[in-house]
């Protein structure tokens, strides 16, 4: 086995006695003591995550927009204001999801993409292959020289300005889902928690100083454990769990990210038009005692299904899940989840489960 890759913040995690684990070949903090406390601090105040394992990819050149309009399932023509971000899936010709990503529009000749750590190598190979076929002159540059820190929570903005007063002028006026350059930092009002917050991409060398300044401003370090329970409560899909190359966006609750309209012919579109839509993603809340987990099987009135992400929700003090079930299953339905060979009652609910600190179910 090759040694684990480390982010520029590895020494900071060790200083804080993080429990470090292998995540997609990266040595990442799982938690710094209590995952549940880290979860609550993001819902109530402000926490930060080292997400430097995610890969920034810059797409530069005049053909950037037409290229991206073929590469991804959402429509980059929705990006007309400078700084606007767009969430999308990137599909293969069969309609399965290669990865989910965010595209930030900076100019007609510069779009910035952020992709998942575990998919980075195959994504970049795919993008280069498509580039060679569709837009040979386009520059596609993976930015391994950048670190990325997510500062999330209702107090994220205030604490960020305390840590780095120079950011407030530009970043303070960013609307949700917009990003802007501030000196050599790229600051975006995006995240993976269901709270207000920012994702900041900056030179790797500057990351430990920035992290330290955030610590001193009262932002608590949070690990991947809390990141997972926060995103689950926020109803956000996790690649590799809720969808993968065998799953279409329609089966992963991501129809809202696919623009089927008009003549635009993105990769995977024809398969999506042809494939039956007989499975859907729903939320579950466990009624009986226990904990819902990925891969538990479900029985519904319309047939079998499976949990794709499940766990304990610290905000709701209950177990919740995302599950793939047959079409026809409706919010309010009761389903049976098999936990250790015993049926447990769960209720189908609309998700997100939690937004901006508030329970929605």
């Amino acid at each position: 086995m090759s040694p684990l890759k480390q982010t520029p913040l590895n020494a900071k995690h060790r200083e804080a006695h993080a429990k470090l684990v292998d995540f997609s070949g990266w040595e990442m903090p799982l938690h710094y003591g209590s995952q549940v406390e880290e979860h609550h601090v993001v819902r109530r105040d402000a926490g930060m995550f080292d997400v430097s394992h995610m890969r920034v990819v810059d797409v530069r050149g005049e053909a950037a927009r037409p290229f991206l309009s073929q590469l991804i399932a959402n429509n980059v023509d929705k990006l007309q204001s400078t700084g606007k971000a767009l969430y999308s899936c990137m599909l293969h010709a069969g309609g399965g999801v290669i990865d989910d990503l965010i595209v930030y529009y900076q100019s007609e000749s510069w779009f910035r993409i952020v992709i998942n750590a575990g998919c980075a190598d195959k994504d970049i190979a795919w993008m280069l292959q498509q580039r060679d076929a569709l837009a040979p002159g386009l520059e596609i540059t993976p930015r391994a020289d950048l670190a990325m820190i997510a500062v999330q929570g209702p107090a994220a903005a205030a604490r960020l300005w305390t840590a780095m007063p120079g950011l407030e002028g530009v970043a303070g006026v960013l609307k949700p889902f917009f990003g802007a350059m501030v000196g050599d930092m790229f600051v975006a009002r995006t995240g993976y928690t269901g709270e207000d917050g920012f994702e900041i991409m900056l030179p790797a060398k500057a990351a430990p100083f920035f992290w330290q300044a955030l610590l001193e401003a009262g932002v608590k370090p949070c690990g991947l454990g809390a990141r997972d329970t926060l995103r689950l409560e926020a109803g956000m899909a996790l690649y590799g769990q809720d969808m993968d190359e065998t799953i279409t966006p329609f089966e992963a609750g991501l129809a809202w990210t696919v623009d089927m309209q008009g003549e635009r012919d993105f990769i995977g579109k024809r398969s999506l038009q042809a494939l039956p839509r007989n499975r859907q993603m729903v939320g579950l809340k466990l009624i009986d005692r226990g904990v819902l987990r990925a891969h538990q099987m479900i029985e519904t009135e319309h047939g079998g299904g499976e949990i794709t992400s499940g766990g304990f929700s610290p905000t709701l003090n209950a177990s919740i899940a995302l599950a793939r079930v047959p079409s026809g299953v409706q919010p309010g339905d009761r389903v049976e989840v098999m936990i250790r060979d015993r049926g447990h009652q769960a209720e189908v609910v609309k998700y997100p489960f939690v937004r901006n600190g508030r329970a929605l179910i």
Partner: protein
């Protein structure tokens, strides 16, 4: 946290204590809760159930994972700690102060087959390497 010397231990990280009335109280060790992280669920065996030594009989779940709890010795379940089921996080505060279930052993001498604190410490140390 140091390992209490008045308890007996298993390789699967349960502790067992012989009570004055001859029953045996069972819980999970501090090392077990440390490995699992924040506890969110405890399921005990039903009272009256007869357990074989080493039988899967209870479950603890943390935010991270589910873990089976095994009967350290054979016996019949005589009581369970319902208060712990309502507040699983107590296991993170002090795993030795919060028991899970109590059995009437089939043979009290079976306890002698379990590890003492020094042997358990050695087993935990060996696991870390």
């Amino acid at each position: 946290m140091s390992i209490p010397t008045d308890l007996k231990y298993t390789a699967s990280h349960e502790w067992a204590r012989l009570e004055a009335d001859g029953s045996v109280t069972i819980g999970i060790t501090d090392h077990a809760q440390e490995l699992l992280g924040d506890m969110v669920f405890v399921e005990n065996p039903t009272v009256g159930r007869t357990l074989a030594a080493g039988e899967e009989c209870a479950v603890v779940e943390s935010v991270k994972a589910a873990s089976d709890v095994y009967a350290p010795i054979a016996g019949e379940v005589v009581s369970i700690n319902e208060a712990l089921e309502a507040e699983p996080q107590k296991l993170n505060e002090d795993a030795y102060a919060h028991w899970m279930f109590r059995i009437q052993p089939a043979n009290a001498a079976d306890l002698d087959g379990l590890m003492d604190a020094a042997a358990y410490q050695a087993a935990v140390d060996a696991e870390a390497h």
